[in-house]
């Protein structure tokens, strides 16, 4: 190519670039600013495994919204938030150390220093109390991903939103299950023994379960509370063994769930049925630690990994989470974290703005059909307290090394193994 030709080509290119630039609307060349969302989780301390998985799940969902994975669910097509010019979600994490006081100061730091427009959290209900209150004070939405204590949305906070069912719904599902399985097998539940850790989560859970048992005419033979992260649960196991109820109902975090299963085994006690309030019992670390002792354990869950027929997004989302998080499948926790960010991103998108009042207004009119999510719920719609009214839980059982949905019967993927009354 001659020198002249080269110059002419350069001039043509410059002209072309100028025309292209003029043709574009102003501002379109600049990327829209990132949307910064805070996430408060226990990243160190005793609950750190759950916090770590939460971080991986939230990052995966942010990647789905920002990227191009083309997943058949709301905002699954990727490319950022369409109504904000393809703005990308950016997450900032803070470590609560599973301590309510640290959760409070860390949330405040996220709001004042990192200028997050909303906060997602926080695994334990005790930390959610302080986080939700501080968010309310700064008028920033708090999306409660997996906190299940029913009292959280009864605090009268206008900035609290919880897509997940609460322990009210979960416990109600357990007792519906007892009724259903009793009719089906002719071996109903007559007695239960409750064991729970003594913070907000366990205390709320035991209170509801006692109430529901009384209504169902089921006798509570023991109601044992213990301090979380205790060095030993053998006496507690001994008391459960002495009660020998039809069903043991534990509400425990991972470390105590491991101890409890081992302690019951060591006491020579195999409960006829264990129906757990989720939490520690669905942590993959729990299953690894107790191994075969987990066989037959039942738990309430808000997520069903095997519901792929009606929720076609599950396999792809699961594969992405797995690749992100050491080969761990989606769990009831991580699925709810993915969904929490999806709900928040949808509201930001519909608001078309990051202004707090517009975001709050958009969250209030959230209406996502269940099949646009990975959850087996009817959908997501908030009531005046910020609680989703369309989230319906399922009961799962650990059979042959895998979780299977056993109730409600219309979504069940395996029959329940039911030893009560035998």
């Amino acid at each position: 190519m001659t020198g002249f030709g080269c110059r002419r080509l350069a001039a043509a290119a410059a002209l072309g670039a100028a025309v292209w630039a003029l043709a574009m609307p102003p501002g379109a060349l600049a990327e829209p600013p990132d949307i910064i969302i805070g996430a408060v989780y226990p990243l160190s301390g005793n609950a750190a495994p759950i916090g770590h998985d939460a971080q991986m799940a939230l990052e995966t969902e942010a990647d789905i919204i920002n990227g191009h994975d083309n997943i058949p669910m709301l905002l699954g097509q990727g490319g950022g938030l369409p109504r904000l010019g393809g703005a990308k979600i950016k997450l900032v994490f803070a470590d609560s150390q599973n301590n309510p006081q640290i959760a409070r100061t860390e949330t405040e730091r996220l709001i004042t220093q990192d200028h997050v427009i909303a906060v997602i959290g926080s695994y334990t209900s005790a930390t959610a109390v302080t986080i939700s209150q501080i968010c309310n004070r700064y008028q920033i939405p708090y999306i409660s991903a997996e906190n299940s204590a029913p009292s959280l949305n009864q605090q009268g906070l206008a900035w609290f939103f919880r897509p997940s069912p609460t322990d009210n719904d979960f416990s109600a599902a357990m007792f519906d299950f007892f009724r259903g399985i009793g009719k089906q097998t002719g071996r109903p539940v007559h007695t239960v023994a409750i064991i729970h850790e003594n913070s907000v989560f366990g205390t709320d859970s035991s209170r509801i379960q006692s109430g529901l048992a009384a209504k169902a005419g089921i006798k509570v033979l023991a109601d044992i509370s213990y301090q979380a992260s205790t060095p030993s649960l053998s006496v507690e196991a001994e008391r459960l063994k002495a009660a020998n109820a039809d069903v043991v109902l534990p509400s425990s975090y991972t470390s105590d769930a491991i101890l409890l299963m081992r302690a019951m085994h060591d006491a020579g006690y195999t409960p006829k049925a264990i129906v757990a309030q989720d939490a520690g019992f669905i942590d993959p670390a729990f299953l690894k630690a107790v191994g075969p002792l987990a066989e037959g354990v039942m738990t309430r869950s808000s997520f069903a990994l095997d519901a792929t027929k009606t929720r076609p997004a599950i396999p792809k989302v699961n594969a992405l989470v797995k690749a992100h998080d050491d080969g761990k499948d989606l769990t009831d926790m991580t699925a709810r974290e993915v969904t929490a960010l999806q709900v928040l991103a949808d509201a930001i998108n519909r608001a078309g703005s990051t202004k707090n009042t517009e975001l709050q207004a958009a969250l209030k009119v959230t209406d996502i059909p269940g099949n646009q999510t990975i959850m087996p719920w009817v959908g997501i719609k908030f009531d005046s307290t910020g609680q989703n009214t369309e989230g319906n839980p399922v009961i799962q059982q650990y059979q042959h090394g895998q979780w299977h949905t056993i109730f409600p019967l219309d979504v069940a993927t395996a029959p329940a193994i039911w030893n009560v009354g035998e």
Binding site: Y226, P231, E236, R262, A285, A289
Partner: protein, 291 residues
């Protein structure tokens, strides 16, 4: 509540108490020797448990087989902490006590963070050891084999500690404890005595860690579950007293178990601390303290 349950719970409490005692023994030894409270003591327990777990994963060695190895490893860790940190903090000319407190406290935070970095925060457990998930039944009492073995090993470790205290080195330890300046005049190397003392303290907690890993979960913060009880045990038994640590440990284990049986288990530490407060009020030097 039947007699069998009470007996079962009491024996369980006794076995747990022996482990508390051995964890406390190392702490007590170091305190008695040089008036330093090692705030990283629980983290040494955690290190021993992770070491056991890692060797078990990598080489398939049963925790029981690893006992001498881990004891040696933790002996080294204890001695290294003395040489690397404590000896240096002794050289500080002001507020020596506080400096030592902060050094060991800082070390504990560092070790927890380092464990989380290296091993991750997931709970681990050894569930395929020789003792894992096995029980023995004696009449109506069912006991986990791993805890029975842990209790026996703890008793053996205590016997070894008593024997050590009767050797020439034991007498050197005693002399150094009495007057650390004077022993230099009769040719005892103070630094050597101290570092061996720290080593023995580390080995004791190491043995407790190996036995615990047979039935307890392992996580970066597992040490703190036992450290608080160890401090109470040491204060209860009397700082620096080995028999004190043994008896106080067993007492704490029994009181904890029986409180959990008759009261709400979430209050089981109330029993321990009630006894602790009573001892502080009426016998501040602890049950066997000489100070």
């Amino acid at each position: 509540m039947t007699a069998a349950i009470v007996l079962q719970v009491a024996i369980g409490g006794l076995l747990m108490g022996l482990i508390y005692a051995l964890v406390a023994a190392g702490l007590s030894l170091i305190f008695g020797l040089m008036d330093v409270v090692n705030f990283a003591h629980g983290e040494l327990l955690m290190l021993a448990m992770y070491a056991t777990f890692t060797i078990h994963q990598a080489l398939g060695l049963d925790p029981l087989v690893q006992l001498p190895l881990i004891a040696l490893l933790l002996f080294g860790a204890g001695a290294a902490i003395y040489r690397g940190l404590i000896a240096r903090s002794l050289a500080v000319r002001f507020n020596t006590g506080m400096v030592q407190v902060f050094v060991t406290f800082g070390l504990s935070i560092f070790l927890v963070g380092a464990a989380q970095l290296v091993f991750g925060s997931d709970f681990r457990a050894i569930s395929d050891g020789v003792l894992s998930n096995r029980t023995v039944a004696i009449g109506q009492v069912v006991l986990p084999l791993a805890q029975v073995a842990a209790g026996l090993i703890c008793l053996l470790a205590f016997a070894a500690l008593v024997l050590i205290s009767r050797t020439e080195f034991g007498r050197a330890l005693e002399a150094t404890r009495e007057d650390r300046e004077a022993v230099a005049l009769i040719g005892i190397d103070r630094d050597k005595v101290f570092s061996v003392g720290w080593g023995i303290g580390g080995a004791a907690v190491g043995i407790a860690g190996v036995m615990l890993s047979n039935f307890y979960y392992i996580s970066p913060t597992v040490g703190s579950n036992f450290a608080l009880i160890a401090y109470v045990t040491v204060a209860l038994g009397g700082f620096g007293s080995l028999p004190g640590a043994l008896i106080a440990g067993v007492l704490v284990g029994l009181v904890e178990a029986l409180t959990a049986l008759v009261m709400d288990p979430s209050l089981k530490q109330v029993g321990i601390f009630a006894i602790y407060v009573l001892v502080l009020m009426f016998r501040p030097r602890g049950l066997f303290g000489r100070l």
